[in-house]
Amino acid sequence: MNIIDSFFNWDQIAAILPDLILIGLPNTLILAAGAMVLGSLLGIFVALASMSRRAWLRIPARLYVDLLRGLPVILTIFLLGQGLPLMGVRIFDSSYPYGIITLGLIASAYIAEIFRSGIQALPPGQQEAARALGMSHGLAMRLVIIPQGVRNVLPALTNQFIATIKDSSLVYLLGFTVAERELYRIGQDAAQQTGNLSPLVAAGIMYLIITIPLTYVVNWMDRRFKTGARLAAAGEQDTPPLTTTQTVAAQKAEELRGARR
């Protein structure tokens, strides 16, 4: 039993590294990013529907969220990834796009809940002020509520991105070509061929290289947004002029916000 040789055999790792970096990493990122874009677009509509006063919008939206959040990812991937083509949605030859769609649908359920909580966390006065100016519900949502809601939920969305990156390791089950393999599949293939776990460890390290920095981005955003909230609250209560560091922080936040646009 040699732990180093079983898990950290450098020759094995070096042999698989080019595939991991050139094929696996791009595919994992394409799958996850594609799913996040799809999931966010869909998620915001599901979120709005789930907050609607109209039952025919609200109930299906809630059901959609409950189903997709309640089922194991692997079951959903098989059901939807194979089911969509079987149902007649045969737009693509490869199962790769169906993988993105499936991951996106799963993510959309979580993202819908994220948006819903972000929007419901806003003070009701924001909606009231917008409506009092004569804005329709839709216009108030578009100009006032959603922009603020999205900002509030950026940390949670980044967390969801991390979860989707990890979930993307399951879609290979739909059957991918050699060039479509993502990190896990490449590692697993090599591990099976060689009977050594080092390629999987290498794949794991690749995941961590993406996900760990992202978790720190989340922490950083959380901190910064909290500071922002404190500054806003201080302004509202009219506490005596902000200390210089606070003012500088406020201005920096301001610049960043401007830059992000």
Binding site: A130, R131, A132, L133, Q148, G228, A232, G235, E236, D238
Partner: protein, 273 residues
């Protein structure tokens, strides 16, 4: 015409009170902003917060609504632009029954200004955008035109130089003046003020009240829910005292503050003055 009698007495009061208002008001003939509240009741669940309110506000009139907290003042105000729906009764603005489901409430609201206790500025927009956004998106003016109007209204409240700040960078008093500018930029017929100085530190109250006084002198129709008795006395044409979801007493500031008729008003005044 049930309001006929009231109109007559109202005009009598106004002539004596504020003759200068007529001169500064543009086109008095077309002046709009008459609010009629008729038989309005409002329940929140089992609680009846308004127990049958009848109130008419004439164009150009400044009406201050006072009363203990929980008396239904804010609810009454919020019914006037249908932020609350009445359980019974109706609210009519310029012959339009705004409580009817058929009314285009957004069009009505675009002619009414409202200022809130907590300012409710949009924190993700600059001060200028806050004031301009509805002029552009609701009144459909061009963006440059909306911004020009916004800058003018900001200048009116003395904050033109803060146009490119964010609301969070302003003091509470300044934020509230921006909120007033935001409402005024829509060129409203009527302004509703909901305890607009209650969230402010005492030294910041005056700046906001000064803006409101100037507005009143300019002939704006105003309904002001307030705890500022000094303001009500100086600026109001009429003071309405509410308690327990009903209008207990109303009259000129002198009537209300110097010759209170009801025991409840006397008691209230003894507590707040």
């Amino acid at each position: 015409m049930s309001e006929g009698a009231q109109v007559a007495t109202r005009n009598g009061e106004q002539e004596a009170e504020a003759p200068e208002m007529q001169t500064t008001t543009p086109e008095p003939g077309t002046r709009a902003g008459r609010v009629m509240v008729r038989g309005v009741r409002k329940h929140f669940g089992p609680v009846e917060v308004l127990k049958g309110i009848d109130l008419t506000i004439e164009p150009g009139e400044v009406v201050c609504i006072i009363g203990p907290s929980g008396s239904g003042k804010s609810t009454l105000l919020r019914l006037m632009n249908r932020l609350e729906e009445p359980t019974a009764g109706e609210v009519i603005i310029d012959d339009q029954v705004i409580t009817s489901p058929k009314t285009d409430i957004n069009a009505v609201r675009s002619r009414l200004g409202m200022v809130f206790q907590n300012f409710n500025l949009f924190p993700h927009m600059s001060v200028l955008e806050n004031v301009a956004v509805a002029v552009h998106k609701v009144k459909k003016r061009s963006r440059p035109e909306a911004q020009r109007i916004a800058l003018e209204r900001l200048a009116d409240v003395g904050l033109a130089e803060k146009a490119h700040r964010r609301p969070a960078q302003l003091s509470g008093g300044q934020q509230q003046r921006v909120a007033i500018a935001r409402a005024l930029a829509m060129d409203p017929e009527l302004m509703l003020f909901d305890e607009v100085t209650s969230a402010l530190d005492p030294e910041l109250v005056k700046g906001v009240l000064d803006v409101m006084s100037r507005l009143a002198k300019g002939g704006m129709t105003m309904v002001v829910v307030t705890h500022e008795m000094g303001f009500a006395r100086r600026v109001a044409d009429r003071v309405v005292f509410m308690d327990g979801g009903a209008i207990v007493e109303q009259g000129t500031p002198d009537d209300i503050f110097d010759r209170p008729q009801s025991e409840r008003l006397r008691q209230f005044l003894s507590q707040v003055l």
